[in-house]
C-alpha cells in the first residue's frame, strides 16, 4: 500500500498508474450508468414521487392530509374525487347530494363492479363499516368531516350520512383529503394493524410493504382488479421521502423522481435544469392574535390594538422580500379564487393610523408581547422576523419564542395558553374550513367565541343556493376582519418540480395538493 514511496528516495512515478486507474474507474462507472438515472431510478412503467416526510400512518383512517394524502390515495379510492382544478368528480360514488332542505342528510350512490384488493366487493355495507371505523380510529382528521350523527346503508348501493348540524360541504369532506371517504376493505378493517404493512383499498395500486423501507421509500404495485384500467398508466409507483431541499432538487434534476415538492429558493435552479415549475397558492401566513381576552397580554383584549397591529404590515413589500414571485400580499383569510373572496376587504398599511389607534387604546408607547413560532415551515424564521420588525415600527416590542422540534410540539405549546400570539399559516379552500380552523385548536387556545360570526356561518350552512352562501361567506370575511383575531400578511405558493414529460398534473387554489391518481385516464398523471 506504500509502494509509491520508494525507499531510495527517488521521486515516484505515480502519474501514469493513477491516471490509468482513474480512467478505468470512470469508464466502468460511465459504462454502467445506463443513461445516468442512477440508483432508485424509474423504469419505463414506474412513477417516482418525492414527499418531504414519512406518512403519519399508512392506515387511511389515521393518515394526514394535504400533500401526505398521496400515501393513502395511491391505494385507496375516495367516494368523491377532488381534481387538481378543484372539481368534484365521481369516484367510488357516482351520485351524491342532500335529501333534505337543511343540508343534514346526505346520500351517495356507489359504483357497481368495484372490488377491494382483498377480493371482496364494494357495497354500501362495506363503505359504512369503513366510515364508522374512521370515526372511531382516533385519527387526526375526524374534526374535518363535520358532526356525523350516523352512517347507514339504505340499500346495497346507497349510503346515507346524517349530520347533527347543516353541513353544506359534505361532498368536499368525502374527498381523498379528509380520510372518511377513503374506503377500506373488510379484511383490512378486521385487522387494522395489517394496514400498516399492506393495503386493502380499491385504488390503482396496492401498497407493497415487503419492498418498502419505512421512512425512506414506499412502493406501490399495480392493482390488477382496479375498476378503471385505462386510468392506470404505471406498473408501479414509488414515493421517496426526501426532506433536504438540495437533495430534492438533485433527485428531480437527475430524473430520480418525476414529481417533487420544491421551494421558492430552489425554483430558479429547477427551471434552469429544464424541470417544469408549477405553483398553487396554499399557505396564508398570518399573525394569530389568540389572546383575545387579554389573559396573558392585556392590550390584545382591545379590538383597536388588534386593528393597529393589522395596519403595521407593508404586505406587498414583505411578500416580495420573503419569496419573490412565489408569494403575494394577503389581506383576508380567503385566497383569491375561493368562494367568498372579496377584493374590497383589506387592512392596508398605515403606521400613523396604527400608532393613533394604540394611543386611543391607552398604549401610546406600545407594549411588549411574546410570539410563538416554529422553524419547520418558517425555516430560519425569516417570515417571523419580518413580522416582528414590522411590529417594532408601531411600537410593539415583540419577542419570538421558536419551537424547533416539530409542528406537534408547536401545537402543544400554542395550546398551553402561555402565548398571546402565534405565527402560523392558515390553509383552506373554503370559508367553512377556515372559520373552523381559526376558531379551534392552536388558532384558538383561549376558546374565544363571537356570536355574530357563529350566526353568519350558521346561515351560510343552511343557505339553499350557492349565491346566498357566497354572500354569507363574504360577511364572515368582513366580520373576521373587524375582529382582528387572525391577521393575514402574505400567501406563499406551493412549488412543485415535475419532469418535463409529466402530463395531467394540475394544481390550483382550490386544490393545491393534487394527487397522482384519479378515476379517469385524464385525471391520472402519465409520462410522455
Amino acid at each position: 500500500m506504500f509502494g509509491f514511496i520508494p525507499a531510495s528516495g527517488r521521486r515516484p512515478r505515480v502519474t501514469r498508474p493513477l491516471m490509468v486507474t482513474a480512467a478505468i474507474c470512470a469508464l466502468t462507472l460511465a459504462g454502467c450508468s445506463g443513461g445516468g438515472s442512477g440508483a432508485g431510478s424509474k423504469t419505463s412503467s414506474q412513477l417516482s414521487l418525492q414527499f418531504p416526510g414519512p406518512p403519519i400512518s399508512l392506515d387511511p383512517a389515521k393518515a394526514g392530509n394535504g400533500g401526505s394524502t398521496m400515501f393513502a390515495s395511491l391505494a385507496y379510492d375516495p367516494l368523491i374525487y377532488l381534481s387538481g382544478s378543484g372539481e368534484l368528480v365521481p369516484d367510488l360514488a357516482t351520485k351524491w347530494g342532500f335529501t333534505d332542505q337543511a343540508n343534514e342528510v346526505f346520500e351517495l350512490t356507489l359504483r357497481s363492479g368495484v372490488t377491494f384488493s382483498d377480493g371482496s366487493a364494494l357495497d354500501a355495507k362495506a363503505a359504512v363499516a369503513s366510515m364508522n371505523y374512521f370515526l372511531h380510529a382516533g385519527g387526526g382528521l375526524v374534526g374535518n368531516v363535520g358532526q356525523v350523527a350516523k352512517i347507514e346503508d339504505v340499500s346495497p348501493t346507497t349510503v346515507r350520512i346524517t349530520y347533527k348540524a347543516p353541513t353544506p360541504e359534505a361532498a368536499l369532506t368525502l374527498t381523498q383529503y379528509n380520510g372518511m371517504g377513503n374506503i377500506i376493505g373488510p379484511k383490512g378493517l378486521a385487522d387494522p394493524q395489517s394496514l400498516l404493512t399492506s393495503s386493502d383499498g380499491t385504488g390503482q395500486f396496492i401498497y407493497d410493504g415487503a419492498t418498502s423501507v419505512a421512512g425512506n421509500r414506499y412502493v406501490y404495485k399495480k392493482n390488477p382488479h382496479y375498476f378503471q384500467p385505462a386510468a392506470q398508466h404505471f406498473d408501479s409507483t414509488v414515493v421517496r421521502v426526501i426532506n433536504n431541499p438540495n437533495a430534492v432538487l438533485s433527485a428531480a434534476q437527475t430524473n430520480q423522481v418525476q414529481f417533487a415538492s420544491g421551494s421558492a429558493n430552489t425554483a430558479e435552479a429547477a427551471k434552469q435544469a429544464g424541470l417544469k415549475v408549477q405553483t398553487a397558492p396554499f399557505f396564508n401566513w398570518s399573525l394569530n392574535l389568540v389572546d383575545r381576552q387579554g389573559t396573558v397580554c392585556p392590550p390584545l383584549a382591545d379590538a383597536r390594538v388588534r386593528q393597529a397591529i393589522a395596519l403595521a404590515f407593508d404586505r406587498p413589500a414583505i411578500a416580495k422580500a420573503m419569496a419573490g414571485s412565489y408569494a403575494a400580499a394577503s389581506n383576508q383569510v380567503l385566497l383569491p379564487g375561493t368562494d367568498g373572496y372579496d377584493e374590497s376587504i383589506g387592512y392596508g398599511y398605515d403606521v400613523a393610523k396604527a400608532k393613533s389607534l394604540l394611543a386611543e387604546a391607552g398604549y401610546p408607547d406600545g407594549f411588549k408581547i411574546t410570539i410563538l413560532t416554529e422553524s419547520l415551515l418558517d425555516v430560519n424564521n425569516t417570515y417571523s422576523q419580518a413580522i416582528v420588525d414590522a411590529l417594532g415600527k408601531i411600537g410593539v416590542a415583540a419577542t419570538l419564542q421558536v419551537q424547533t422540534t416539530g409542528i406537534a410540539q408547536f401545537s402543544g405549546d400554542a395550546l398551553s395558553k402561555k402565548y398571546a400570539a402565534i405565527i402560523f399559516p392558515t390553509a383552506g379552500t373554503t370559508m367553512s374550513q377556515l372559520e373552523s380552523q381559526i376558531t379551534s385548536g392552536l388558532f384558538n387556545p383561549f376558546n374565544s367565541t363571537d356570536s355574530q360570526l357563529d350566526s353568519i356561518m350558521q346561515e351560510a350552512a343552511k343557505a339553499e343556493s350557492a349565491q346566498a352562501r357566497t354572500a354569507q361567506y363574504q360577511q364572515a370575511s368582513h366580520r373576521l376582519q373587524d375582529l382582528g383575531w387572525t391577521v393575514p400578511i402574505f400567501a406563499t405558493q406551493s412549488v412543485y418540480f415535475t419532469a418535463s414529460g409529466l402530463q395531467n398534473f394540475q394544481a390550483s387554489v382550490l386544490n393545491p395538493n393534487p394527487m397522482p391518481v384519479g378515476p379517469t385516464a385524464e385525471l391520472s398523471w402519465r409520462l410522455k
Binding site: 509509491f4 525507499a7 454502467c32 438515472s37 440508483a39 432508485g40 404493512t197 438533485s250 402543544g412
Partner: protein, 313 residues
C-alpha cells in the same frame, strides 16, 4: 486476548443498560410524545388523551422502560409506534445500508489517511505542507457541504453517479457500488485528514528518536527503517485516532444518510427522534452502542498485535 474479549463483552452489558436508561429518560423529559405526532395539529385534548391511553404513554416512564427491557431481554425490541413495523426487522433492513457506508469509509480513511500521512512525514517539503493544509480543510469543512459539492459535480453535471438513493448489493452489485461512492467519499474526508495528520505527526516524532538514528548508523536500509520500525512504532497513536474517527463516523452517517437519502440506521434514528418513536430510538441506540463497543474491542485487539507489552499486561 480471549480474556480481554470476555471482559469487554461482560462490561458491555451494564453499559447497554445505562445507555438505554439514559435514552429512555431523555425521551421522557423532551416535550411532546408519539400521540401528538400521530394526531398532528388537528389533535383535540380528548383525542390526545384517548390515544395516550391506547399507547400506554400515561404509565410512569420507569414502568414503560421495564416493559421494553423485559422484551429486549427476550430479543424482542418491540414495534414502531408510528409505522407498526417490528423494530428488529427495521434494524436488520437498514443495517446493510449503514454498514455499506461505514465499512468502506473506515477502510478508506485508514488506508488513505495512513498513506498520505506517512508520505508527507518521510518526504516533507511541499507534500507535507499540502497534507497540513488539506488536513485543516478536512477539519473545517462539514461533510454535508462536501456531499453537496460531490452531488452537484458527479451526479448533476456529469450524470455519472446517482444523486440520492441506495441499491442492494444482491440486486445489483454495480448499482450498489455507484450508490455508495459519493456518500463514502463525503464521509471519508474528515477521517482521512484526521488520520493523515495524526500519522504525519507521530511518524515525524518517531523519525527523530535515537533508536532510528542508531538503526541508520548501523546501515539498516531506509526501507526497513521506515516500514519495519518507524511505521510500527507510530502505529498505536494512529490506531487510537482511527478508533475515535470510526466512532465519530457513526454520527456523521446520520447527516450523510440524510443528504443522500440512504435508508440506513442514521436516518431511522433521526426520524424516530422527531416522531418520539421510543422503541425505534432505543433499538438504534442499543445498536450504535454495540458498534462503539465493537470498535473499542477491535482497537484493543490491534494494540495487542502491535505492542507485545499490552499482550502481557
Amino acid at each position: 486476548m480471549g480474556r480481554l474479549i470476555v471482559h469487554r463483552v461482560a462490561m458491555s452489558i451494564p453499559l447497554l443498560l445505562i445507555v438505554s436508561l439514559i435514552i429512555f429518560g431523555l425521551e421522557a423529559v423532551v416535550p411532546g410524545d408519539a400521540a401528538s405526532t400521530i394526531l398532528g395539529q388537528n389533535a383535540t385534548p380528548e383525542s390526545l388523551a384517548a390515544l395516550r391511553v391506547q399507547l400506554g404513554l400515561n404509565d410512569p416512564w420507569i414502568v414503560r422502560y421495564g416493559h421494553w427491557l423485559g422484551g429486549a431481554l427476550h430479543a424482542d425490541l418491540g414495534t414502531s409506534i408510528i409505522s407498526g413495523v417490528d423494530v428488529t426487522s427495521s434494524l436488520n433492513s437498514r443495517l446493510a445500508v449503514t454498514l455499506s457506508l461505514l465499512v468502506p469509509t473506515m477502510l478508506l480513511s485508514a488506508v488513505a489517511g495512513i498513506a498520505l500521512g506517512f508520505a508527507s512525514a518521510v518526504r516533507g517539503g511541499i507534500l507535507g505542507r499540502f497534507i497540513d493544509v488539506v488536513s485543516l480543510f478536512g477539519f473545517a469543512v462539514p461533510s454535508f457541504w462536501i456531499a453537496l459539492i460531490l452531488v452537484t459535480f458527479f451526479a448533476v453535471h456529469l450524470n455519472l453517479l446517482p444523486a440520492t438513493g441506495y441499491q442492494d448489493f444482491a440486486t445489483s452489485p454495480t448499482g450498489w457500488l455507484k450508490s455508495i461512492i459519493l456518500p463514502v467519499l463525503a464521509l471519508s474526508l474528515q477521517g482521512i485528514t484526521s488520520v493523515a495528520k495524526q500519522t504525519r505527526d507521530t511518524v515525524m516524532e518517531v523519525l527523530e528518536t535515537d533508536y532510528v538514528k542508531f538503526l541508520r548508523a548501523n546501515g539498516v536500509s531506509e526501507r526497513s527503517v521506515r516500514y519495519r520500525h518507524v511505521l510500527r512504532n507510530a502505529a498505536i497513536p494512529v490506531v487510537t485516532s482511527l478508533g475515535l474517527v470510526s466512532v465519530g463516523m457513526l454520527s456523521g452517517a446520520v447527516f450523510i444518510e440524510n443528504v443522500f437519502v440512504l435508508p440506513g440506521l442514521g436516518s431511522l434514528a433521526t426520524q424516530a427522534t422527531l416522531d418520539h418513536d421510543v422503541p425505534v430510538i432505543l433499538g438504534v441506540g442499543v445498536f450504535f452502542t454495540l458498534c462503539v463497543i465493537a470498535i473499542n474491542l477491535v482497537i484493543d485487539f490491534a494494540y495487542g498485535l502491535l505492542n507485545p507489552k499490552v499482550r502481557v499486561s
